[in-house]
Amino acid sequence: MTEERYAADRRLIAILALLVAVVSVLYIVVGLKSSTWRYALSLRVPRLLAMIVTGAAAAYSTVTFQTLTNNRILTPAIMGLDSLYVLLQSLAVYLFGAGSVVVSDPRLNFLVVIAGMLAFAVVLYNFLYRREERGLAFLLLVGIILGTFFQSGASFIQMVVDPNEFSVLQNRMLASFNNMNTGILWLAGILLVGAMIVIARQLTTLDVLALGREHAINLGVPYDRVVRRLMVVVAVLVSVSTGLVGPLMFLGLLVANLARERLHTYLHRYLLAAAALISILALVGGQFLAERVFNFAAPISVLINLAGGLYFILLLLKESRA
């Protein structure tokens, strides 16, 4: 019986992988012209890779975070981590000056900001775990307000640093789907692989953590140490996705919940793989449809926000009934 279920899950994952391969090829190939193919490829390949890395990072960070916090609504993006990345980037400009290496070199900038993210992850960890008794809605609201604060704080600092170059600075620093930061692609890819390896070595621990704190400790998991380490991994993953394409508030929420609903298992081996594939499929497929088929000017992130917001409201209403 269980073997059958796993077989079904494996089949689903295989189908997803196939679909991802198909849309990736489509994204690269459709509309190539013999005269300009070289130039088109030089644009498309990095963008495709950026979306793949982002999708995987968003899925891995969200699934892990949800397991750590033991719920299906809280995600790193909703707790304001994405916006914090943007704030830290602006702070770097403020502290080191717009002309310094820390700001102008995208890779160095990325690493400096990640250091800040790690520091915050520790603070967030303490906050989440010491105040658990306050309830989910409270944490969510605090997270969303924190996000707003980080966002307006970031714009505020950028304004204060250099009103003349405000928009230039904003364009150069802040990644978005129309303005992917492919300069850090390799670095981000390496970090993603590193994070995935750390998580891969904790797969069975994650399965146990999903049972809740008490059970995990009873079953011999060194709870605090493991959770703290995984929080650090989550912070790195959030930096990877935000650094490449900017804040994506609801992508993680959508794909993690889809994976949890579609699969018949709680095993993270399957959950993580499925969530990552769905996420990549949504980004690449969505961007392909938007760019080449429907000719939307709107980036796919707007649509994800729309779908994610509605889904979030549904989850909230469901939660409030329970």
Binding site: A137, L141, M159, M249, A298, L303, L306, I313, S320
Partner: protein, 321 residues
Amino acid sequence: MPEPKAMHNIVLALCLAIFSILSLVLGLSQFSVVKLATGEDLVSQIIILSRIPRVASIIMAGMAMAIGGLIMQQISKNRFVSPTTAGTIDAARFGMLVVLILFPRFSAFGKMLLVFVFALGGSLLFMGILGRIKMRNVVFVPLLGLMLGNVIGSVTTFLAYRYDLVQNVNTWLTGNFAMITQGRYELLYFSLPLLMAAFAYADRFTLAGMGEEFAVGLGLNYKQVVTVGLVIVSLLSALVVITVGRIPFLGLIVPNMVTLYLGDNLRKSIATTALAGAVFLLGADLLGRVLIAPYEIPIGLTVGVAGSVVFLYLLLRGERR
């Protein structure tokens, strides 16, 4: 104890006067009292064309947002609800976009009416959802409102991309008084009769805030009062969004701070709330103008930073009790 409460208002009114004068003369080119007294052309021109409209619009917008928040908190019986956390402002922005796409030739007044219809629709939708859910957790309600606003906001952004109006939409995203000049803010004067109506209804809002059954038992036409409240809030929001843009959190934090000291009786707190809203907004505007002079920081950003900090404080503090 009528005296200490009257003191609040006197202090606030004094602040209002000082801030207003500061705002009028701050950074004025070649300003001097002599030139002003002799009616030097340039100086009086600047004051009449730009400074007086600016101060007037800030005062009215501050009062409008603060009173709007106060009313919303009463009728939803939740102190974390305001036009920004109930989808009202986002619905108004959506309405503004629809006006730009479908009826770009409307007069300012016509636009205002249409935006008002959208703002009212957004508020009603939110109140409708609230009525349906059973769990009235105090933080759950604003969470839902923020998400509703977020969804409406994404639809707005999506349409804006389709019709190439992203820039226009972004200008209403962060409120800004720098563009206010004579002839571009007069619509805000419509907020004055609305504020008066709010004052007249203060007692009824207080009763409505005690719950439907209790209020009806006391002989209040509950449905009518709630509707009047929502109409006033939506009109105020529409006016502010059209003329100034989005000012986040003001309607949330100012009424809360005032209620913290003066209690829930609207008759006692409504005047103070209005004054405090105006003073807060004037102060934020002055700060934004001083910090990076000769440039200025849009007021939406200043208020966004200050407002989210105060909101977090209120949240953490409220839960501790």
